[in-house]
């Protein structure tokens, strides 16, 4: 079919899957599961194949698919992928099948599967949309399935948690919608028609400096709630703790990335000047989030809540890297979005597996699991180290790039942020110690180790965690061109220049040094020349004077 691009298919396959699931009788649970999984796997395969078809040398949007949708407003069905969104799409494509296989809803499989597929479509649509309104629609659409998943399949306080989640996000979006419309209408000056195409809007850059700042803040409001940034993060621990395992995996793995992705894609490209001006504010908030999240995580008695707070801290790193406004920081941020999705998704799966066996998430209730579940302990260790950021695993690469990238422009923020890495080690290792070490007694001694299915579910995540830790280059190669282009855009429009060290590392510093040296020498030469001429001039004058005196 002509016109049906692969991206449109990626977004529509889960929708079709959900529709098919809706038509299957409730009692045929096996068929429902099979259909749901097939749709999710299809999307996953398509997403992975995108990586290979993706042109790593191009910084442009690729596989663009466009169709007019609401002409009255210049809204179109516009999808495209670049280095920044590519791996988020892949992450979504991988995590959904894993969440579907790895967890059991226990009741009403039909509605559960349908909601999961709708959620997947919403996430993919948000990452792929290049039309502001389309992005907003998908962004909002993700709320609904998540609301029903938390509220329908969650734990004790699920209704409270789901409502809080929904209303917080909706509150943020309210600002974004108004900001978005202001941007679009103010950009439609003269002969320029109304458009929601972000490429065109970024190009026009029509807002006055002051207006742009307000609109940027409106967008940031929506994304800050989603990320979540301190102090609008309070929905997150509740939502994560009360959500069923798959809900937490997707929430942490994919949904939170909508916030950081939004900041990168819309915050930076549409409002470069405002982003440069307000970067210190966001960096500060990010650092507060890193420390605050880590401290809270240390205090938690509930294992799931601990992981939830660790997300607040990790997402703080991503925002830190984003608003460092350097190529390294941003690349690290984008990479870290994927890393966090993998490691925290895996952590939530593991906590879910423990809960399935022990029916508790209380750290105090769990003890000595290393003896009764050795394989689980190994897997948990690897995932935990990935989350801490141990060299050799994926978390290290992202955090390291972020911290370097931040250090060259914002030294002190980077210094405080680094403390977060140490705290991460503290709360995770301490939790591990309490849960896994020692001699198990009572129920803890009788636990069965991971089943084959659970191992199969964790295997791809572990492979990716190790692979990205050892050889992240192919991923960075695809991320970098787009990030470089974005930073150039910010530099051109924001009246800002990133230090050379942030572009080429040590070589950049040397180059800069040499450049400065050359400049100095040039200046010196000129100075000498000038003096020489001055001297000559004086000499001439004296000579003339002498002549006239004669």
């Amino acid at each position: 079919m002509e016109g049906l691009s692969v991206l449109t298919a990626i977004v529509l396959v889960p929708v079709i899957g959900a529709a098919v699931v809706a038509l299957i009788p409730r009692s045929r649970e096996d068929v429902i599961k099979a259909v749901g999984l097939t749709a999710a796997v299809l999307v996953g395969v398509a997403a992975i194949s995108l990586v290979f078809a993706f042109d790593a040398n191009s910084s442009e949007y690729q596989f663009v698919s466009e169709a007019s949708w609401i002409e009255e407003f210049g809204v179109s069905w516009l999808l495209g992928v670049d280095g920044i969104s590519l791996f988020l799409v892949v992450l979504t494509g991988i995590l959904f099948p894993i969440a579907l296989i790895g967890t059991d809803p226990h009741r009403d499989v039909k509605a559960y599967t349908a909601w999961m597929l709708v959620l997947e479509a919403g996430c993919l649509g948000s990452f792929l949309a290049l039309d502001l309104l389309l992005f907003f629609l998908f962004f909002e659409l993700t709320l609904l399935p998540m609301y029903f998943i938390i509220g329908g399949w969650g734990y004790e306080k699920r209704v409270y948690a789901s409502l809080k989640f929904f209303l917080f996000t909706l509150f943020g979006s309210a600002f974004m919608l108004v900001g978005m419309l202001a941007l679009v209408f103010l950009s439609a000056k003269g002969s320029d028609p109304l458009t929601f195409d972000i490429r065109e809007l970024a190009e026009r850059g029509a807002l006055a400096e002051d207006t742009a700042r307000w609109v940027f803040l409106a967008f940031t409001m929506a994304f800050a709630v989603k990320v979540p940034l301190f102090p609008v993060h309070t929905w997150l621990p509740d939502a994560h703790t009360q959500a069923p395992t798959a809900g937490s995996v997707i929430l942490a793995g994919v949904l939170l990335k909508l916030g950081t992705y939004g900041l990168v894609r819309f915050g930076l490209s549409l409002f470069p000047k405002a982003a440069v001006d307000l970067a210190p504010v966001l960096l500060t908030v990010a650092v507060i989030g890193i420390i605050y999240g880590a401290v809270c995580a240390t205090m938690q008695k509930d294992l799931k809540r601990l992981v939830a707070y660790s997300s607040v801290a990790h997402l703080g790193f991503i925002v830190l890297g984003t608003f460092a406004l350097t190529t390294q920081g941003l690349s690290g941020g984008v990479l870290q979005m994927v890393n966090h999705g993998l490691s925290t998704g895996a952590l939530f799966l593991l906590v879910g597996m423990i809960y399935e066996r022990r029916h508790t998430r209380e750290i105090a209730e769990l003890h000595g699991l290393q003896r009764s579940m050795p394989v689980m302990a190994v897997v948990f260790t690897v995932v935990m180290f990935s989350s801490i950021g141990l060299p050799g695993l994926n978390g290290f690469v992202g955090e390291f790039l972020i911290l370097i990238g931040t250090f060259v422009t914002r030294r002190w923020w980077a210094v405080v942020g680094t403390a977060g890495v140490i705290l991460a080690a503290l709360y995770l290792l301490w939790a591990y110690q309490r849960v896994f070490h020692g001699t198990p007694e009572g129920d803890n001694a009788k636990l069965t180790d991971m089943t084959l299915r659970e191992r199969a579910v964790m295997a791809p995540l572990l492979v990716l965690i190790v692979f990205l830790g050892i050889y992240p280059q192919p991923v960075l190669d695809r991320i970098n061109p787009s990030v470089e282009k974005l930073v150039e855009h910010v530099e051109a429009r924001g009246g800002y220049e990133q230090p050379a060290a942030a572009v080429n590392g040590a070589e950049g510093v040397r180059e800069e040094h040499e450049k400065k040296k050359a400049e100095k020498e040039e200046a010196k030469k000129e100075e000498t020349q000038r003096r020489l001429e001055e001297f000559k001039g004086a000499e001439d004058k004296a000579r003339e004077k002498a002549r006239s005196g004669e």
Binding site: W69, I70, E71, E72, F73, L133, F136, L137, F138, E140, L141, L143, L144, Y147, F148, G151, G152, R158, V159, S162, L163, F166, L167, L170, F171, S173, A174, F175, L177, V178, L181, A182, V184, F185
Partner: protein, 508 residues
């Protein structure tokens, strides 16, 4: 009489010859079809001995469809030849009026289907419901097509008087009678205020004809005209009552709660549309030149309406009161479109009214069903565990409620988007933001109902209610299917309806 005769005979008596206007009946075809239908129904019932309620319902549906077709034919004609005025310039045949004719006809069809099952269940005999509804709907059409404030007033009265009776239709229920009296007293009061406004405007401009008033205002510079502004303000109050804008909303919760549920549905859809039809026409076209004067007032009205509607809905325990307050907050959104006072604002308001109509009719269908015999079970707890008993019904209600909350890919979102974008285009950023934030508050009570339907764990209650059957009559199922289908389908492919609303305003 003798004077008339003298005048006709042309003898010099100092009286000019009376010119009877040329009545172009074709310009009022849909109105007349509805009125004719009502009269035929009355006569028919008086003549026939056999009483067959479903035949009356079917007849009403046919009348509604006929008027829909007539409206559509008029649309095509206007599309070809452009708008015109008729009956001595007192009726306008333009895209705007036809838009409302189409809308009102659709409301008649759906409300008749809704009413049929209700009347059968409640054992209310007689065709009054259909007759009054048809008459009321014709009043709504007159309000939309009026080009003269007197005609607007006539339309308002035809609409309202029939509604007063409809509200008290189920006179065995105390609440229904109470609602009728309340609605009547406050409605009559607001009509008087409206009429006073008409009088003042006439005093200031020398005409009640909208075209002539427009001409006067455009040609005359009025630095400060207290009488005119007072008249405009009173008109706004009169319309404000009809559309339930705060602070003229006090009747809404009580009347919505007390009136029979299908009547409430008709009221929420039809009366609101009619009130706005008059309001938007008068303010957008006639008093456009005064917009710097009325925009701030409408701003205040809109903000109050949005906030009061959405905040008070949260604390209600009765579904009909929740929907009443929610309808108030929706009126606030339409007022956002009015406040913007630009093309997008008008088109957005029309789009909002059109899409809201189907959401609210569908919602009240569910309310009627769950209310069961006696139309009394409207406590929110009646919805506890509905998804387990009637999954399809719960799903339909969820879609309609979430659409009202403004969830993407439904018409409800686009409606909000349309009026908010009009406000932003008109640089009313604060109003746009207040509107969006109030919709967040509103989302809370819509979600609260879905929580009850889907997430309530009260096993005992569920067990108890499992024994009761909740049959869905076919006519109600049709209404629900149509409302949900329109809400979702045009949310996904919005172009036809958006174009319809826009064309309606360009043909003004």
């Amino acid at each position: 009489m003798s004077g008339l005769l003298v005048a006709q005979s042309g003898q010099p008596q100092g009286l000019p010859p009376l010119e009877l206007p040329n009545v172009e009946y074709s310009a009022m075809a849909p109105h007349l079809i509805l009125i004719g239908g009502a009269l035929v129904l009355l006569v028919w019932v008086a003549m026939m001995r056999r009483r067959a309620p479903w035949v009356w319902a079917a007849f009403t549906v046919v009348v509604g469809l006929a008027s829909l077709v007539a409206s559509w034919l008029m649309w095509l004609e206007v599309d070809r030849n452009g708008p015109r005025s008729a009956v001595a310039d007192s009726i306008l045949v333009d895209g705007y009026s036809i838009f409302f004719m189409v809308l009102v006809s659709a409301i008649v069809v759906l409300a008749a289907l809704m009413g049929e099952a209700y009347l059968r269940r409640e054992d209310v005999r007689g065709p009054e419901f259909y007759v009054l509804m048809l008459l009321s709907a014709s009043g709504a059409m007159f309000m939309a097509s009026a080009n003269d404030l007197v005609i607007t007033f006539l339309g308002l009265e035809i609409l309202s008087i029939a509604l007063y009776v409809l509200a008290g239709l189920d006179n065995r229920r105390m609440e229904s009678r109470e609602a009728a009296i309340k609605y009547f007293v406050l409605g009559a009061f607001s009509s008087a205020v409206f009429l006073y406004g008409v009088a003042l405007v006439y005093g200031a401009t020398g005409s009640t004809n909208l075209g002539e008033i427009t001409g006067y205002l455009q040609s005359t510079v009025t630095p400060s005209n207290g009488v005119l502004l007072a008249g405009v303000a009173l008109l706004l109050v009169g319309f404000g009552f009809k559309v339930a804008a705060v602070p003229f909303h006090a009747w809404t919760p009580d009347v919505y709660q007390g009136a029979p549920s299908p009547v409430t549905g008709f009221m929420a859809a039809g009366a609101k549309a009619a009130g706005f039809a008059g309001l938007l026409r008068v303010f957008f076209s006639t008093f456009d030149t005064l917009k710097l004067d009325w925009q701030p007032i409408v701003w205040v009205l809109a903000v109050a309406t949005l906030l009061v509607g959405s905040v008070l809905a949260i604390v209600q325990e009765d579904i009909k009161r929740v929907l009443a307050y929610s309808s108030i907050s929706h009126a606030g959104f339409v007022l956002i479109g009015l406040q913007a006072a630009n093309d997008k604002g008008l088109a957005g308001s029309l789009y909002y009214l059109l899409t809201y109509t189907f959401m609210v009719l569908g919602s009240f269908t569910v309310v009627t069903l769950v209310g069961r015999k006696g139309d009394a079970r409207h406590d929110l707890n009646a919805y506890r565990g509905l998804s387990a008993r009637r999954p399809a019904l719960a799903l339909a209600f969820t879609v309609l409620l979430l659409a009202q909350a403004g969830i993407p890919f439904t018409t409800g979102f686009l409606a909000k988007f349309y009026v908010i974008s009009a406000a932003v285009e008109g640089r009313s950023y604060s109003l746009a933001l207040i509107g969006m934030l109030s919709s967040v508050v509103a989302a809370f009570f819509y979600l609260r109902i879905t929580v009850l339907m889907y997430m309530s764990t009260d096993e005992e209650q569920a067990e108890e209610s499992r024994h009761e059957t909740l049959a869905i009559p076919r006519s109600m199922a049709v209404v629900l299917a149509v409302s949900v289908a329109i809400t979702v389908a045009f949310g996904l492919l919005p172009a036809p309806v958006i174009d319809f609303a826009r064309d309606a305003t360009t043909l003004l």
